[in-house]
C-alpha cells in the first residue's frame, strides 16, 4: 500500500500559540486513519492546512503524489471533507445544495443526476431532496454533509468529528456507509473523533497533544504499549484472588484483574489452572491509552 498522505515536519503558529509543532506522519491508501486529541490539540489546524484553508509555517505535505505548495488544485479534486459543523446552505433544498456543490467540481446535467442518484441510494435520502437543509434533523443533515463530501468521487474522505451529537443508531448507519465505501472504492478515511470506540476501529492512530505527536501506532500497538490487559475471573472467592498477588477490582459477579500484558496473563493461567476455570482476557481500551499517553481523559470532546 502506498502512502497517500505524507506529512513531513509540519509546523503552524498563530501568534505565540504553536498550534502544530514538527508533525510528521503518513497515511496508507485505503486505510481508516484516526487523529485523536483534545480540543486545541492541532487536529483541525492540520486538516485545514491539508485542505488549503490555512497556510503552513514550515514542513511539506504531499497528498496523492501532489505537493500541496505547487499542486493544490489536484489535491482539492481528490478530497471530500465533512466539517465539524454543517456548512451547507440551510435556506436551500438538499437538491439545490448538492447541485451547487457539484458544479464546483464541473459536474453538471446528467453526470450530476447520476452521481446524485448513487449517493441518494447509498445514504438513503431520496425522500429528502426537496426539503430545506435547515429543516432536517441532525442525523439527516449529517447524511447530506457526507453526500456533499462524496459528490466529487474523492480518494480521501476527511471526517472532522462526523458523529458528534448523533444518536447511536445514526452513528452506526453512518459508519456502515463509510465502511462500504472503503471496501468498494478503496477510499482512504482520515478521521478525527472524540469517540474512543470509533478510533479503536481505525487501522492507524495518531494521538496529538499540544500540537505534537504524543503517540502513534495501530490500536493493538497502542494498547500493548500504553495500556494493560484485564482478566475477568468468574466463580471464585476473593481470598483466592488475593493469593494471585495482582491488582484487582470487584465487579458484580466477578473480579477484574489487571495484568501488564498478555504474556503475564498466560503465565498466571498456567501457574493456577485450578482458579482459571471461567474467565476472559481483554485488552485495555483506547480511553486507557489516551489517558496514559496524555494524562487527560477525553469525554465527548472535553477533558475530564
Amino acid at each position: 500500500m502506498r502512502d497517500i498522505i505524507k506529512i513531513d515536519h509540519l509546523s503552524k503558529s498563530f501568534g505565540d500559540v504553536k498550534a502544530v509543532q514538527d508533525l510528521s506522519f503518513c497515511v496508507k491508501e485505503g486505510e481508516l486513519f484516526a487523529f485523536l486529541g483534545i480540543n486545541g490539540a492541532g487536529k483541525s489546524t492540520t486538516i485545514n492546512i491539508m485542505c488549503g484553508q490555512l497556510s503552513k509555517d514550515d514542513g511539506k505535505i504531499v497528498i496523492d503524489d501532489a505537493d500541496l505548495d505547487s499542486n493544490l488544485d489536484h489535491i482539492k479534486r481528490g478530497l471530500g471533507v465533512v466539517f465539524q459543523n454543517s456548512v451547507l446552505d440551510s435556506a436551500l433544498s438538499v437538491y439545490d445544495n448538492l447541485q451547487s456543490r457539484a458544479a464546483l467540481y464541473g459536474l453538471f446535467g446528467s453526470e450530476f443526476k447520476k452521481r446524485l442518484d448513487e449517493l441518494a441510494k447509498l445514504l438513503e435520502f431520496d425522500d429528502l431532496l426537496k426539503r430545506s437543509v435547515g429543516k432536517l434533523s441532525g442525523g439527516q443533515r449529517r447524511r447530506i454533509d457526507i453526500a456533499r463530501a462524496l459528490i466529487n468521487h474523492p480518494k480521501i474522505l476527511i471526517l472532522d468529528e462526523p458523529t458528534t451529537g448523533l444518536d447511536p443508531q445514526t452513528r452506526k448507519n453512518i459508519w456502515r456507509v463509510i465502511s462500504d465505501l472503503r471496501r468498494t472504492e478503496n477510499m482512504t478515511v482520515f478521521l478525527t473523533t472524540h469517540y474512543m470506540e470509533e478510533a479503536a476501529e481505525a487501522d492507524y492512530i495518531v494521538i496529538l497533544d499540544g500540537g505534537k505527536i504524543a503517540a502513534e501506532g495501530t490500536p493493538l500497538m497502542l494498547k500493548n504499549t500504553y495500556s494493560q490487559d484485564f482478566i475477568t475471573l468468574y466463580g471464585i472467592d476473593e481470598e483466592k484472588v488475593k493469593a494471585l498477588s495482582c491488582e484487582y477490582e470487584k465487579i458484580r459477579d466477578a473480579f477484574r484483574l489487571s495484568v501488564p500484558n498478555t504474556a503475564k496473563a498466560t503465565e498466571l493461567i498456567i501457574k493456577h489452572p485450578d482458579l482459571f476455570t471461567d474467565y476472559e482476557i481483554t485488552k485495555g481500551k483506547m480511553d486507557d491509552v489516551f489517558l496514559n499517553v496524555t494524562g487527560k481523559k477525553l469525554e465527548g470532546g472535553t477533558v475530564k
Binding site: K76, N85, V87, A91, A103, G106
Partner: protein
C-alpha cells in the same frame, strides 16, 4: 463559466429565499417612498412655492411633478446603494457561518467565487431597484407626469449604473467583513449616512462650502445628480414654458443639485457618467485585485 453561473444561481436563490434579507432590501425603497410622500412632500411643495415670485402662478400639477421627481430621485439614488449592500451581505454571511469553507475546499478559484458574488448582487439589486423605479414612475404618473421617453430611458440607465456602483462599493467594503455584527454595523452606517453624503436626503447645495467641496470628490453625488436631472427635466421644462424665467429655473436646478460644481466649475452630464462609470471600473478593479492578492492566513 458554467461553474460561475451555478454559483450565481446559488447566491441569488439564497438571497431570494432568505425572507429577512430579501424583504429588508425590497421594503427599503417602499418605506422611503411612503415616508417621503407623507412627511416631506408638503415641505418640498412649500419650498418650491416660496422660491417663486408672487407674479407667477403655476398649476398644482407642475409643482406635484417637481416634488414627485425630487422624491423619486432621492429614493432611487439611495436604494441602488443600500439594496446592493443588503444583497451583498450574503458574501459576509458565507464567511460568518462557514459556508465559504465548503466552497473554497473545491478547486474553484477564489476570483471566480468573487465574480459570482458580484454578479448575483448586481442582478438582485437590479431586480429590486428597477421594480422600485417602476413603482416610482407610477407615483410620478399619478401626481404630475412631465417626463419624456428619453428621460425615462436615462433614468433607468442611471439606476443601472448606480446599481453597478453600489454593488462595486459594497463588494470592496464587505471584502473586509466577516461577522454578523460587522454586517449590522456597516448596514446601519450605510442606511443612515449614504443618503446624506450623496445628496439624496438633503441637496448638497444646502451644505457649507467646505463640505460641498469635500462631497464633490465622492462619485455617489454625481449618481444622485444624474437621477435628479432626468427625473426633474420635464417638470422644469414645463415651468419654463409656463413663463418662469430661465434664471429662476436655473437656480432651482442649482438648489436641487441638478447642476453640480467641482471647485466652481459646472460638471456636465457626460462628465458625470464618466465619473460614475470610472468609479465602477476602479472599484471592480480593486475588488478583483484584492481577491487575487488575498493570502491564506
Amino acid at each position: 463559466m458554467k461553474t460561475i453561473f451555478a454559483m450565481i444561481k446559488r447566491n441569488m436563490k439564497l438571497f431570494f429565499n432568505d425572507k429577512g434579507m430579501f424583504f429588508t432590501a425590497l421594503i427599503t425603497p417602499g418605506i422611503l417612498l411612503v415616508l417621503y410622500a407623507t412627511f416631506l412632500g408638503n415641505i418640498f411643495e412649500d419650498s418650491f412655492y416660496a422660491g417663486l415670485p408672487d407674479t407667477i402662478k403655476l398649476p398644482e400639477k407642475v409643482i406635484n411633478g417637481l416634488v414627485g421627481g425630487q422624491l423619486i430621485s432621492s429614493i432611487l439614488a439611495v436604494s441602488c446603494v443600500t439594496v446592493a449592500f443588503c444583497a451583498n451581505n450574503l458574501m459576509v454571511q458565507d464567511r460568518a457561518n462557514g459556508s465559504i469553507k465548503d466552497l473554497t475546499i473545491s478547486p474553484v478559484k477564489s476570483s471566480r467565487l468573487a465574480i459570482s458574488y458580484y454578479v448575483a448582487t448586481l442582478l438582485s439589486t437590479l431586480i429590486i431597484c428597477l421594480a422600485a423605479a417602476g413603482l416610482c414612475l407610477v407615483y410620478v404618473g399619478a401626481n404630475g407626469w412631465y417626463m419624456s421617453v428619453s428621460d425615462v430611458i436615462f433614468l433607468l440607465l442611471d439606476v443601472v449604473l448606480l446599481s453597478f456602483f453600489g454593488t462595486a462599493l459594497s463588494s470592496v467594503i464587505n471584502f473586509f467583513l466577516s461577522t454578523q455584527g460587522q454586517i449590522s454595523a456597516v448596514g446601519t452606517i450605510i442606511s443612515a449616512g449614504y443618503g446624506f453624503i450623496c445628496g439624496a436626503y438633503m441637496p448638497i447645495s444646502s451644505f457649507s462650502d467646505g463640505l460641498q467641496k469635500v462631497l464633490a470628490f465622492l462619485p455617489g453625488t454625481y449618481g444622485t445628480s444624474l437621477v435628479r436631472t432626468h427625473s426633474l427635466r420635464g417638470a422644469l421644462a414645463e415651468m419654463q414654458s409656463q413663463g418662469v424665467p430661465a434664471e429662476i429655473v436655473g437656480s432651482i436646478q442649482d438648489s436641487l443639485d441638478c447642476n453640480l460644481y467641482f471647485f466652481g466649475g459646472q460638471v456636465s452630464v457626460p462628465t458625470m457618467y464618466l465619473i460614475l462609470g470610472g468609479s465602477v471600473a476602479v472599484l471592480v478593479g480593486a475588488y478583483v485585485l484584492m481577491n487575487a492578492m488575498k493570502k491564506r492566513v
